[in-house]
Each structure stands twice: as structure tokens, then as C-alpha cells.
């Protein structure tokens, strides 16, 4: 069975794109952090791909929430943001990779997912 990836992203077209690029995995998508947290409560995914600027709580809020619980603190998280350059030190070691929407390629997305799921 393929790995389960949650994509938390509020841009519908980007969600569709990420799902296409990661079609070899089981991808579930969420447009905001609250829905994603509710889904994590029901089933912990193998990987979360997270945008930072979201409707409602930010990606960082979701990240903090995940780290607060032992069953979710080890879920690998990849940040995928168009503000990657500005994030700098705000991103700590709990994040596997930061993908910059401005410079990333589909291969970068696949490689980051593969690496995080290893």
C-alpha cells in the first residue's frame, strides 16, 4: 500500500498540481489547518506537505500542534511555500525540507517526499 500524504494548501490549483506530481502516493488534501488537524486525529499520515500562509491558523500553528502530541510529533513535515526565502530561522529541525514554490521543480517535490518517507 502506498504511503499516505496530507497536503495542506489553500490554493486549489496548487493542490491539484501537487496531487498530480505525487500520484504514486495516496494524497489527501486540506485547504486549512483545522481540517488537517481533524484528519490527523482520525488517521496519522506518513507525511504532511504544508503551506505556511493559510486561511485560519497558519502552517506554523499546525506544526506546533503536531509537535505537541507524541503520536504526531514524529510525522515528517515538508514546508512548501512561496515565502521560503523569508522563512529563514523560523523553520526548525522538526521540518524535513523546505520547498520554495518559486524555484522548485516537480522532481524536487518527488525527491523531497521520497527522502522524507525513507
Amino acid at each position: 500500500m502506498s504511503a499516505l500524504i496530507y497536503v495542506v494548501e489553500d490554493d486549489d490549483l496548487m493542490v491539484e498540481h501537487l496531487s498530480r506530481v505525487l500520484k504514486s502516493y495516496t494524497v489527501k488534501t486540506f485547504s486549512n489547518g483545522l481540517d488537517a488537524i481533524a484528519a490527523v486525529d482520525k488517521k496519522v499520515p506518513d507525511l504532511i506537505i504544508l503551506d505556511i500562509v493559510l486561511d485560519g491558523p497558519s502552517g506554523f500553528a499546525l506544526l506546533n500542534e503536531l509537535q505537541s502530541y507524541t503520536d504526531t510529533s514524529n510525522v515528517p513535515v515538508i514546508i512548501c511555500s512561496s515565502m521560503a526565502e523569508e522563512l529563514g530561522e523560523l523553520v526548525d529541525n522538526s521540518v524535513c525540507a523546505v520547498l520554495d514554490k518559486v524555484t522548485m521543480t516537480p522532481d524536487d517535490i518527488r525527491a523531497a517526499a521520497q527522502e522524507a518517507l525513507r
Binding site: 490549483l13 496548487m14 498540481h17 506530481v21 526565502e85 514554490k101 518559486v102 521543480t105 516537480p106
Partner: protein, 237 residues
């Protein structure tokens, strides 16, 4: 308008420009992503070329908006000035311009005539600035007129610039760019269809490196350049 009012007006333009740039970043990044994804699929040569053009056009627009957002952060962020090898930066810029050169079926020449090994600059900002100059110059290139990236010594400074065969920049645009970057206006000839936004970004980057942009008009184009101080680090050894 008094100087305080004028300054406020310029800052207001800056912040609205930056807000627009932030808004444009996501859709442009998506267009680029989709073109890259499409390019992975099979297709005939014409389709591939169109997709490649789409990707490069979106990258060009993205560079402008990220340049604008970066220019807005220059005051807050640390853009450290260090000894930088200008030839290495120029070579990297030329390498990253290969897809555009291939698509435009032209080449970018280079002429390095300075013995200086190091200048004081920020590598990232200098690379961005030169990339913008070269990219712009390549859009005006032809079989006869190939733009040139040059490095030469000018007194105690090193001049790095691009010989561009495009039409000159409108005097009014240049004046606005100079004014927005708090430098003296310096009239030059007219380049149609240019807002000077790229120059504004370049000017901000130059200022962050304690330098400024210069321009030389030619009968058949212009040269844009930046003068950077020579690093004395090696002489201290």
C-alpha cells in the same frame, strides 16, 4: 510637494508595489510549476518549445516580483558584504542564462579585463542584479548584436556591467527610478515599453551594497553597470 510628503509618497508606492509583488508570486509560481510538469510529458518539438517559453516567461516575471519583495526586505534582512570573486559570479550568471540563450538562439559574450580578484559585494544580490541586466539584454539580442557581460577596472573600483543592444530607456522612467532610489536624476535616451521596475530593483540592490548603478549610452544601445570597491583582503595577507 515638500520633501517629507514626497518621501511618504515614494514609500507608499513602494509598499503597494511590494503587496502586488507578493500577490503575484503564487500564481506565477503555479504557472511555472505547470509548465515544468507539462514539459515532462511527451510532445512534439513545437509544443515543447511553447511550454519552454511559457516557463521562461513565468520565471522572468517571478524574478521581478521576488526582486521587488527582496528589495523591500533590504533594510531588515542581513545582506552581508563580503569579498566576492566577480568572475565566479559572472560565470554562474552566464551558466544560468543558458536556457534563455538556447531559446533565443543567441549567445551572451563576456569580456573580463580586470586583474582584481575580489570585490566587496553581496554575492546573492550581485548575481540577481547581473542576471536581470543580462536577461533584459538577451531580449534585445540578434544574430548581429550579441550582448556582452564585462568586468573591468575603473580606478579603485571594478565595473561589472552588460552591453545591451536594446533601445535606450525613456528619460522620464530613468528619472523616476533615480528619484525613487534617492539618487540624482540623469537623463538618457528613450526605451519604449519599459516601466523601469527591473532597474528600480537593481538600484535597490546596488544601494544595499553601498554602490550605485551607472549607464552609458551608445549609438546602438546602452551599457548598464555597477561599480564595486576592490576588496583589500588579499593585500592584508
Amino acid at each position: 510637494m515638500n520633501s517629507k510628503g514626497e518621501k511618504e509618497r515614494l514609500l507608499a508606492v513602494d509598499s503597494s508595489l511590494v503587496a502586488v509583488a507578493h500577490e503575484l508570486k503564487s500564481p506565477l509560481a503555479l504557472i511555472r510549476q505547470l509548465s515544468l510538469f507539462l514539459n515532462e510529458a511527451e510532445g512534439d518539438a513545437e509544443q515543447k518549445k511553447t511550454i519552454e517559453q511559457l516557463g521562461l516567461a513565468s520565471e522572468r516575471a517571478l524574478r521581478l516580483v521576488t526582486g521587488l519583495t527582496k528589495a523591500a526586505r533590504l533594510e531588515d534582512a542581513m545582506f552581508e558584504l563580503t569579498p566576492v570573486n566577480p568572475y565566479q559570479v559572472c560565470d554562474e550568471v552566464l551558466r544560468s542564462l543558458r536556457p534563455i540563450q538556447k531559446l533565443k538562439n543567441t549567445t551572451m559574450k563576456h569580456r573580463y579585463r580586470s586583474k582584481t580578484k575580489l570585490v566587496v559585494a553581496n554575492r546573492d544580490l550581485l548575481g540577481n542584479l547581473l542576471y536581470g541586466f543580462c536577461d533584459n539584454a538577451l531580449h534585445h539580442a540578434s544574430e548581429t548584436y550579441k550582448p556582452e557581460l564585462f568586468v573591468k577596472g575603473v580606478g579603485q573600483k571594478v565595473r561589472i556591467g552588460v552591453r545591451d543592444y536594446g533601445p535606450s530607456l525613456p528619460t522620464e522612467v530613468w528619472r523616476k527610478v533615480k528619484k525613487a532610489s534617492k539618487l540624482d536624476p540623469q537623463p538618457i535616451g528613450g526605451r519604449p515599453n519599459s516601466s523601469g521596475l527591473g532597474l528600480y530593483v537593481a538600484q535597490s540592490f546596488a544601494r544595499a551594497m553601498n554602490s550605485k548603478l551607472g549607464v552609458t549610452q551608445h549609438r546602438d544601445g546602452v551599457s548598464f553597470y555597477i561599480d564595486l570597491p576592490i576588496s583589500t583582503q588579499l593585500s592584508l595577507l
